[in-house]
Symmetry: C2
Subunit: 455 residues, 2 copies
């Protein structure tokens, strides 16, 4: 029994190990360059947001096979023992270049480049993709929610239907990066320092003799931090109870911060609750809404001017429900100094070590990206930055606060059409002439090779 | 820094802890009954398959707060110290009743029932849902793939785009339960004894001087277990190379087991490759296909009689892409002997401790389910079985082989309309008269209560 899937070197596709064994047997280990990118954006996305680099780096720096894992490899009957022994000292010793977390990017733009001895660069494929795909997916979805609800507080409520433990925890991180204000997932506080928020469940109301009794009990246990869930039975009755309780608590020097509604027509309910609270002199009690929210629902509530101050956004954000995966690839672009290109139909790659250069217009909006070879000189900002050298971090990774500030600048740099939830002409990086020439050169070589083999 | 999200008691919604503190302060801890069920099925699902019970039980039996977690709770400033101290001995001591893993079920049918002191039954909500939702989601999707590809081998290829480490590992388990033949996720072998399969990546071909050289190298490193990926450049040329290599290897007493195609028109490519292999005397080499597969693609390939023997099914299965979440709920149904009902619009629950009785027609197909109170006596099989008593497992959980055999019987018991991928009239459990009466009784009480408070 090997515990802790996230920390096991065996959390990888078996073919990574079979390929490594073949490379070991053939003593192949020259420098390889792999790039991680998205072949295309989902139909409902105008941009994506790079996220997950911190966890990717953590994986690369801690990757090793422990004795239990090596023992299993010995007993499974697939690998030779000299190869397994070589894995005892297997470490990542390469270079990493990457877009900083929170950077917006588009189809075919590498967000991570690994330059390392072949076996290392190959082996890390499965888990690097697993980590980068998840957080990029969630941050991209969460950023849309942030754009759809300007001025509102957004809280991640999605642990229960996130796909497992790691998805729950890392989607709290990814949504916080993207501009959420916090999460309900407790572990995100000690692990990442993310603000955590909690109210009560319907069951809390239900186990008390009356809703009133439940509210009073909760308010007295958390005198400075009370949010009451008011839709267990009848929201309008509950709102009146809240007013009465608020005045009662006032005499004790206590207050109710907010009420939460979690069902029904949120805009209509919020308006009615707001009126009841205001009429009762409780203008300071804010309204939190949750239930099936995503960027489309948030936009509609904004258009309806629903008097809601904060939103709990769960399932549809954490699972990126309208686009629950990205067409993510990790492909070899160079080996032993030779650029490489995959020609599989629909899955062709741009060869060589690449860089993305971004230019901005005078108002600071993105004016164009160029996908170019690393050595090319283009105007604009090169988006891939050096992160690791010889297996070591070059400088500390940015804090979540620094990433969030980068995200604000990135979202502001998106042209209005790309910020919107409506259809927009796709934004595509221009491919540099040098890169097109290199691709054509490889195609000609491959065609000549095929012709020679074929005749 | 608290590592291992899957094993931390803090992997929970903050409100579980705030509610517990309130229950502690008020000394409320009578027996509560919670049930886990799906409010409705996604549009594209005619049935769901219960999965994840083993991990749920593992969570319940190992749940505890360690000193690092208790220390964080002390410093976070939200909880009082007497309450935090009480968490040191917090254990799950209750009862679990559940549908065996692999059981097919429908809307509103509880698949898990927790009967325990209120604080325990409440606290476990977030992680129980997180675990049961994930595997039920994936098993339900995988079962559809199994039904769509009779007689074919199916392998889970989805780690890289599964939502994190636990989703990768547990979707290997969930799909294996549902009838897949194995997974590419290595860790699933030592952890669960699931057969693992691996071929090679395109990069393996690309780092060799020629595709031919790559094939020969791989075949000689894995003489008894060679599957060659043939779509890196030109599949028809590669298929001819495979024939030549197979004859060469034959003289050494070795063989090639299979070729894999991963792009293009899989049916047309498979037919062309099959012809080349057969014409070359390689009838025994089988064909594995992968790339954007799901139950719809598998059904089309079956209709096209594509000569494909095995499929690698990844992203769309692991993320349940057409329905990436279920409308999963964990609701209180009884507290201190009193049945409970939530009335929130669209989220009403059926009160009381419930059981599902299933009857079959003479051909062994499901003829009807009845959602009833536990004490009711109905013909048919009660689907919820006792699993834990007083925090202890009543008998060992079934092995994966036993679950797989249960699944075969369960899928065979589905009427043809529910097995199909086409539209079908929704299957709904009948609600027993006793349960309807109980719900009405609670509604009347609540209405009287509301009236009394309102006037």
């Amino acid at each position: 029994m090997i515990e802790k899937p996230a920390e096991s070197a065996l959390l990888t596709d078996l073919y990574e190990l079979t390929m490594l064994q073949a490379y070991f047997a053939r003593q192949m280990n020259a420098t390889a360059v792999f790039e991680l990118f998205m072949r295309k954006l989902p139909d409902n996305r105008h941009f994506l947001m790079a996220a997950g680099l911190e966890q990717a780096i953590d994986y690369l720096t801690t990757l090793r096979f422990d004795e239990v894992e090596l023992a299993w490899l010995r007993t499974c009957g697939r690998f030779d023992h000299a190869f397994i022994d070589s894995l005892r000292d297997f470490r990542f010793t390469g270079e990493v270049d990457a877009m900083p977390e929170g950077t917006v990017f588009f189809a075919n733009e590498p967000i991570l480049r690994i330059t390392a001895p072949l076996r290392e660069a190959q082996f890390v494929e499965s888990r690097l993709m697993n980590l980068m795909h998840l957080q990029t997916l969630v941050a991209s979805k969460a950023a849309r929610c942030v754009l759809a609800a300007p001025g509102k507080r957004l809280i991640d409520f999605g642990l229960r239907r996130a796909h497992g433990a790691e998805a729950g925890l890392l989607s709290a991180r990814a949504s916080y990066i993207a501009g959420f204000d916090g999460t309900a997932t407790t572990l995100a506080a000690p692990r990442f320092g993310i603000p955590v928020f909690g109210t009560m469940a319907h069951s809390f109301v239900q186990v008390h003799d009356s809703e009133n009794a439940a509210f009073a009990a909760y308010a007295r246990v958390f005198p400075d931090n009370t949010t009451l869930l008011i839709d267990t039975y009848d929201t309008s009755i509950a709102a009146r109870h809240v007013v009465a309780l608020a005045h009662e608590l006032e005499t004790e020097g206590r207050s109710i911060i907010a009420v939460r509604i979690d069902s029904g027509d949120l805009a209509a309910t919020a308006r009615s609750v707001r009126r009841t609270l205001d009429d009762g002199g409780c203008q300071k009690i804010s309204i939190v809404a949750s239930g099936n929210l995503d960027e489309y629902a948030l936009r509609q509530l904004a258009l309806d001017e629903a008097p809601i101050d904060a939103f709990g956004v769960g399932t549809r954000m954490n699972t990126s429900a309208d686009a629950p995966y990205l067409d993510c690839a990790y492909k070899i672009e160079e080996y032993a100094g030779q650029p490489k290109r995959k020609l599989s139909p629909g899955k062709e790659t741009w060869p060589g070590r690449k860089q993305v250069f971004r230019i901005f217009d005078t108002s600071g909006k993105i004016a164009g990206d160029t996908l170019a070879l690393e050595g090319d000189r283009f105007p604009g900002e090169p988006l891939l930055k050096p992160v690791m050298h010889a297996g070591k971090l070059l400088q500390p990774l940015p804090s979540l606060d620094e990433i969030r500030s980068h995200v604000r600048q990135q979202l502001a740099s998106l042209p209005a059409a790309l910020q919107s939830l409506d259809a927009a002409p796709p934004f595509q990086a221009t491919v540099s002439a040098s890169l097109q020439e290199l691709a054509q050169k490889i195609d000609s070589q491959m065609a000549a090779y095929a012709h020679a083999r074929n005749t």
